[in-house]
């Protein structure tokens, strides 16, 4: 049985360690905490691991794309 942390890692990796500008770092950290919370809540509700990973992936996809774009534009 994987933990919520492991399922989130499996779904999106740990982008908290990427080189994000300070103004965005706080948002990224909260986003990661929220994904962990969502995974925990889904597990507690009896969802299976594959479903949890899929939901976390979908929930995070747009954020990750926008984050990448924003990080690039701020560092350019």
């Amino acid at each position: 049985m994987n933990t919520a942390h492991e399922l989130v890692e499996q779904a999106v990796g740990d982008h908290r360690h990427h080189n994000v500008p300070p103004r965005i770092r706080e948002i990224v950290d909260r986003h990661h905490q929220t994904l962990l919370g969502l995974a925990n809540a889904l597990i507690a509700a009896g969802r299976d691991e594959d479903e949890v990973v899929q939901i976390i992936q979908k929930a995070s996809e747009s954020f990750s794309i926008k984050l990448r774009t924003e990080t690039e534009s701020l560092s350019s």
Binding site: R30, G37, A41, A44, A59, E61, K66, E70, S73
Partner: protein, 340 residues
């Protein structure tokens, strides 16, 4: 319920309606186009919680407007019938298990008629400054008791919505002036021009350029140049109406869309901006003054943002050529009539 409370990680919510409204205005999100992150979240919520209706709701002055929604036929409703207005005041997950048995809602038109709300769960969208701007909600057309797990799941999706709103604000905002960035301004104005075309509304574009800005930077340094830009942005915000759209296009160039008003109003707004910018005082920097040249282009049927910007740019160039610190109308626009 601990999981819900622990994830509600911002400062205590403040129910101060004017401040709340300003916090919502700062997001510059109401009436914006559909955006993938919010569409994706309502899809996920709908599926995960098996909800026929789901919405990201922003509670504006007199209406609730849906940034993303599923299962509804309208994109807003009056605020005085909105369940979400109760949710933002509750400042906690707001639950109605059977609206027909709740005196607050039994005669609500949203219960009696479409969408026939019976059960409602709304999680306030609390921003880091503590203000609640709206909710993420699910609606059922049958009575329903919500489990702790369902509330926790929706709470976490609501936290994701808040993160998306924050990231969106950074992406769409010019960091120095807090005005819209060039791209965000264009997107908003394109939507406004579409709307004006549908309803044959008038409007105009103002292109404003600070005069001799390079010499301010060269003489006083970039910190003072930045101060001039921030002061200019403050004036523009103070002069404009809530529904006008203002952005910093880059450098010392600003753009304004004066919506739903004849060209004469756009011209008058430009003139007011010019006068107030010329009157700016900088007590810490004796001898520093600034002025702006402004070009105005009136909406015309079929005109694109690029065409209007080009027309305003030509008028701006003419204002510069004629000696700066003045306003000029674009050539193909009708001359302003002060009695419009």
């Amino acid at each position: 319920m601990n999981a819900v409370c622990d994830l509600n990680h911002f400062a205590k919510a403040k129910f101060d309606e004017p401040g709340r409204q300003r916090a919502l205005d700062r997001l510059k999100v109401v009436d914006s186009r559909a955006e993938p992150p919010f569409e994706r979240i309502v899809d996920l919520v709908k599926t995960t919680l098996n909800a026929p209706i789901c919405a990201v709701t922003l509670v504006d002055n007199d209406r609730q407007w849906f940034k993303a929604f599923r299962g509804l036929n309208v994109d807003h409703t009056p605020r005085d019938v909105a369940f979400c207005d109760h949710a933002i005041r509750a400042e906690a997950p707001f639950i109605v298990e059977d609206a027909t048995k709740d005196a607050r809602f039994a005669n609500n038109p949203l219960v009696l008629f479409e969408p026939h709300i019976r059960a409602y769960l709304g999680i306030p969208l609390k921003m880091p400054d503590g203000y609640i701007v709206g909710t993420l909600c699910v609606i059922y057309q049958e009575p329903k008791a919500f489990s702790e797990h369902e509330i926790a799941i929706l709470q976490n999706f609501a936290n994701l919505v808040v993160g998306e709103l924050e990231l969106r604000t950074i992406a769409f905002t010019d960091g120095l002036t807090n005005l819209l960035s060039r791209k965000a301004w264009r997107d908003r104005v394109e939507a406004e021009i579409d709307r004006a075309g549908r309803y044959t509304n008038a409007g105009s574009i103002l292109l404003l350029d600070l005069d001799h800005f390079k010499s301010i930077n060269d003489t006083y340094g970039h910190d003072v140049g930045d101060l001039v830009l921030r002061k200019t942005a403050e004036i523009v915000n103070a002069v404009l109406r809530k529904h006008d759209i203002v952005g910093r296009l880059g450098g010392e160039e600003f753009a304004v869309c004066v919506a739903n008003a004849p060209a004469s109003v756009g011209f008058a707004v430009a003139e007011r901006l010019r006068v107030q910018i010329a009157a700016l005082a900088f007590p810490d920097h004796p001898g520093l003054s600034c002025s702006a040249s402004i070009g105005v282009a009136a909406f015309e049927p079929g005109a694109t943002v690029d065409a209007l910007l080009k027309q305003a740019d030509e008028a701006l160039y003419e204002a510069k050529r004629m000696g700066r610190n003045q306003v000029r109308m674009g050539e193909s626009a009708a001359l302003p009539s002060w009695t419009d």
